[in-house]
Amino acid sequence: MELPLISDEQVEILLSDLLEHYGYDFTGYSKASLKRRVIRLYSLDKIPGFAEFRYKIINDNVYFKRFVEQITVNVTEMFRDPVFFKTLRDVVLPRLGTYPFIRIWLAGCSTGEEAYSIAILLKELNLLHKSLIYATDLNPSVLEKAGQGMFQLSYMKQYSENYILSGGKNDFSSYYTAKYSLAKFDDELRSKMIFSTHNLVSDHSFNEFQLILCRNVLIYFDRDLQHKVLELFDDSLEDLGYLALGTKETIDFSRISRKYKRLQSEKIWRKTN
């Protein structure tokens, strides 16, 4: 280990390159986390020097995509925080079930594990046929993976445990077929998902939803950007709709909080009218 391979100033240079050349704005991201990701990639790819790193990102479109994919965090799992999914199952989704049509926005869906988890809940509640899950992310490559609905078979034991803890009563393996080392999830689940790129930093509201989930995304943003994104969610949520965030995230500091009422002990808020 030696002193940091990349300085704060150099990170700033990369961020302004991304904005200038590609229109991707990472300037509102939490710096410590972002810098760690940049240094990690720089060592992983054994880049000989900062100038070369910068040159590759600006001029090599394939490498640029890798860069964005690697500096953003795409770690996710099915039914992560089972108690949260239990609340969706027992409280939130049944209430939404009274609507003729349910629109759900999963913002920052990464490789899709949560989208499939929600689809399974909807199916078990007999609501899938009248629901649509809009799953968005800024990375086209993770969306491509999400659309395939295939996850590592070796994770299924953990996911099945999560599923049971979230109140699932079925045999979890009935939702997928094993193909070599992968578990391919049923096309019926996939048929109610729309995957699309959307950048929370720069893109606008594109529909009105009854439920917006955005879990463990805001932690990577600074407070100013969090304010902005929460307003985007507020603009995209119908009255009496629900907003769900990650375990350690909150709307309490935000201007929108006065319009929202928190549900039990979960990080779920309902918009009041």
Binding site: M1, E2, L3, P4, D8, S30, K31, A32, S33, R36, R37, V73, V75, N216, L218, I219, Y220, D222, R223, Q226, G246, T247, K248, E249, T250
Partner: protein, 187 residues
Amino acid sequence: MENCEALIIGGSAGSLDVLLRVLPAIKPDIRFPVIIVIHRKHGADSLLPELLSGRTRMEVKEVEEKEEIVPGTVYVAPSDYHLLVELNRTFSLDYSEKVNYSRPAIDVTFQTAAEVYKKKLVCLLLSGSNSDGVNGLQTVKEWGGMAVIQNPDTAQVAFMPQQAKQHVKIDRILNIEDMAEFINLLS
């Protein structure tokens, strides 16, 4: 060291007992925050802060993301997130890949704090069964901070402090009964 601006304590297997013994003897008016990163099972969330707050008059809280770091407060890293220190002396959380099979990883907190507090950082590594924290202590040294470990002979699981001792130029090696006094004198 004078004017310590942050103390970070990292530990794994066998470290909780040490904390429970040391915490009551730390003076509640110390002028720096105590940040605790302990490996624990995901899901046992609020128990650790509760357990610790019974042992001190300082405020003990599980870290909220973007929270400002206040002296005289004991912060506990939430389970299943990495805990990072930002240049503006706030915390941020990160759900990226595990490091040393751990999340939170002690390395991540030590390393990000090293750059922020530089010479005014003290990091203490306790008992544990993997080598998380060792790279972090190295970074702390590179930025001029102080690297301290529990005497491996007194550790329930000696591996972690032993690894640190082997790979890092350690400033102080402490027995459990000397830790509180050492910490009180940092203020």
